[in-house]
């Protein structure tokens, strides 16, 4: 279905007209910020136009019967690596801020469609965790069928990925010793070195900024001087210092969390989110006071030493202590059922339904500073809306339809209806290109499949 949609969109005129309004009636509407409304919601002109017990359908509106169904805002995944070509890590260096995700986006990755089918409408696409300071990051919407540029979340601040702990020191301390042919190991090899890399980088960034300020002053005075060269690596760090680029820090242990908060304070910038932070619960107070948010897993643990003290109560405990918490996936499979993950924060730690849903909607929206546009169902916000056949936190419910900016990007019924067509198209193409793969025969068995 997905490729057919793609082709159809390509073949039709480049400019696509505004979608007709959509009215979902008689549903249970989970607004997130204003409680539950049993009634209707109107999507018009890309935005949520009305929510209420009774909402009139404007002319030309598509009316959907939401009886027995649930409506909630599109899910926001604050940590993902989907839709990236050519590797998610520039791992040759420990400071890779010259490189970035915006340069290598792949809008045709099937992971996007699969996430969409699981209710994810906004994704914080990050560089990997191989570097103490990694590459630039970008916020996208899962507007399946559109170009990379069209998928970007317009107006969202760009980010920069940092990584602490085991991952960024792996190349400095490889498991099998120094690999053959490698002349020099990549610094750092310890957590001490990780801190050093970050401090050095910002020290360099400040010197760079000072050089520019000096030259600007000279130029203002009419003095002859050669300007500094633009250094894209340091430019990103200067943007961090100026608050124009959000900082997302992959971390695990409480000591490195505190280290990062301290280093940031010393350098003069704020950490926006601590990603994973599986030991965050141990220093919840400190984190709350710093203003940093936490974006963590519901219940992953035991895959690394630094994840040994991970507990599924992390999200709930941090929430109770006043930290802004979101749940993320960091995984193309997990991101398809973040709604089911959110329910775990109810089981482990007793968050309420509303609190649990916030973990995947308004909270990540606030963390990414896009909560003026998404994260809840409020009049005036983007019409990023999910329709479920049951309560989103129930394991027995599933996503039926997804709208982004009031345009329907996913429809389960349509997806199912399109399958035979897609299968037929594939058979046709295989025939044209010469030869369908032979059905394998059962060796020595009692049956033989005819090709």
């Amino acid at each position: 279905m997905k490729t057919l949609v793609l082709l159809t969109l390509v073949c039709t005129a480049a400019v696509f007209a505004a979608d007709p309004p959509v009215l979902i009636q008689n549903a249970t509407i989970l607004t997130i910020t204003n409680g539950t409304v049993k009634g209707s919601i109107l999507l018009e002109n890309d935005k949520i136009a009305a929510i209420g017990e009774r909402v009139a359908a404007p002319a030309g509106a598509a009316v959907i019967d939401g009886s027995g169904k649930y409506v909630m805002p599109g899910i926001i995944d604050c940590h993902s690596h989907i839709m990236v070509d050519g590797g998610i890590n520039e791992a040759s260096v420990s400071v890779a801020s010259m490189a970035g995700i915006p340069d290598v986006l792949n809008p045709e990755a099937i992971a996007i469609y699969r996430a969409l089918a699981g209710g994810v409408t906004t994704v914080n696409v990050l560089h990997g965790s191989a570097d103490a300071i990694g590459g630039r990051t970008v916020v996208m919407k899962t507007r399946w069928g559109k170009s990379a540029e069209e998928m970007k979340f317009a107006g969202a601040l760009p980010g920069l990925k940092f990584a602490l702990g085991e991952n960024p020191k792996r190349r400095g301390n490889p498991a099998g010793g120094v690999p053959p042919g490698v002349v020099e190991l990549r610094y750092p090899a310890t957590r001490m070195g990780v801190e050093d890399v970050i401090r050095q980088a910002f020290s360099e960034a400040k010197a760079y900024r000072a050089n520019w300020e000096e030259w600007n002053a000279k130029a203002a005075r009419g003095e002859l001087a050669i300007p500094p060269a633009r250094d894209w690596k340091l430019e990103a760090l200067v943007e961090v210092l100026e608050g124009k680029r959000l900082v997302h820090v992959h971390c695990y242990r409480q000591d490195e969390i505190l280290m990062m908060l301290r280093v940031a304070e010393e350098a003069g910038f704020k950490v926006r989110t601590l990603q994973h932070a599986l030991e965050g619960y141990k220093v919840a107070g400190e984190i709350a006071r710093s203003g940093a948010g936490i974006s963590t897993f519901a219940d992953w643990w035991a895959y690394k030493m630094e994840a040994q003290d991970a507990i599924p109560y992390n999200a709930a405990l941090l929430t109770r202590k006043g930290v802004l918490v979101s749940l993320n996936s960091d995984d193309p499979e997990l991101m398809r059922h973040l709604d089911k993950e959110a329910a775990k924060a109810m089981k482990y730690g007793g968050l309420s339904e509303a609190e649990a849903l916030s973990l995947i909607t308004i909270n990540p929206a606030r963390q990414l500073m896009i909560d003026g546009r998404v994260g809840s169902l409020e009049v005036g916000k983007d019409a990023d809306v999910l329709l479920y056949d049951g309560h989103p936190l129930s394991n027995f419910s599933k996503v039926l339809k997804v709208w982004i900016d009031g345009h329907q990007y996913f429809d389960r019924d349509q997806d199912i209806a399109d399958r035979p067509k897609q299968e037929a198209e594939r058979k046709e193409l295989l025939r044209k290109l010469g030869g369908e793969p032979r059905r394998p025969a059962i060796e020595g068995g009692t049956e033989r499949q005819t090709p």
């Binding site: 085991e166 507990i311 068995g445």
Partner: protein, 435 residues
Amino acid sequence: MRWLLILALPAFWLAAADSDAGDSFLLRGGTIHTLSGAPIDNGSVLVRNGKIIGAGKDIAAPKGIKVIEIKGLQVYPGMIDAATEIGLAEVDGVRETLDIREIGRFNPQLVALTAVNPSSEHIPVTRANGITTAATLPQGELISGQVSLIHLDGWTTDEMAVSRTAALHLRIPSIQVSTRPVQPEEGAAPPPAAAPTTFAAAKQNFDKQITELNEFFDSARRYREAKNAKAAGFRPDLKLEAMIPVLEGKEPVLVTAIREREIRDAIAFADKQKIKMILCQAPEAYKVIKEIQQRDIPVILGPTLELPLNEDDPYDRAYTTPAELQKAGIKFAIGTFSGTASLSSRNLPYQAAQAVAFGLPHEEALKAITRNAAEIWGVGDRMGTIEEGKWADLVITDGDPLETKTQIRQLFIKGKAVDLDNKQKQLYEKYLNRP
């Protein structure tokens, strides 16, 4: 004298129970999901010496028995994770904690139970969500060893053992063509040097493996013949000795097969060698339904929460396979295949629940993680339902265990109340109370 008698009664009651046989008690007043019939509202379960005596609406409490009131609560058979690595792996990233994969391709004599660590933190963490039994699998190329079925409670592995050698684990050979990436990512693991890059070479590899596999089985047959005939010069061989129950049909072979071709190869192999087979993982089983049906092959499905294998597969491919098999009358259980990390064994019920969202009847989902798992593993007479004569492997919940927000109230393994505490709960409490 009477005092002595009165005192002696409980002593007699206790004496009658050996240390191994668990408690006696009556669970009273809850909804009993026996999974061998309709749920019993306001029902009770009577347990004596760790075995279920009966479940019903009105069961009188025998004198002196401990009564556990469960008003408003639910009782289910303890859940069974039909395929895991539990006990064989502690931390994925730390090699020293891993005992899953031994060197060698023909190791039928290796037994998973030997390597299970009874002190693994995964055990208390997993049973805290109602899982009482797990099948733990050795892994490797071809024959990796014996699957062991264990209770998630016991001071030693002997106490945990339900079935030391529940099945032989065979990874059916497959044709793997290695594609070298055009631009290998710096630091990414290079493909194994000997990996074939053409179909012809891969097919050759595969043919060789299948031949060797068949030869191994044939040599095991000859060994058995020689042994039975007390042939002159016969010498015991540990590897071939371990094959005998398989050859005699007393022990099944758990065959891991992923792609359709592998599943067909597995079936062909089982036909040829005349062995009892359980299909393992088999995400493409839906392509081979007829053949599986015809031979009544049970299937232990891999996790439902899994990406489709092919780009063009429907997005819900893994979610709908259980329902498809169920409609075709194929008996299946669900395994998490967990060692650690995300596919944690404790989330077994949610793997089953996802299938319900996409068409599997609720009752069938429950069976897939209790009764069917027990039957497939050959212990259907001992666990999997709440029926007379079976062990009291029971879980008491405040709701549907397939729903996440449900809390586990109590857990019994062989009638013994199991501690639901674990390191994670302890850390939670500790830091909740950090000033």
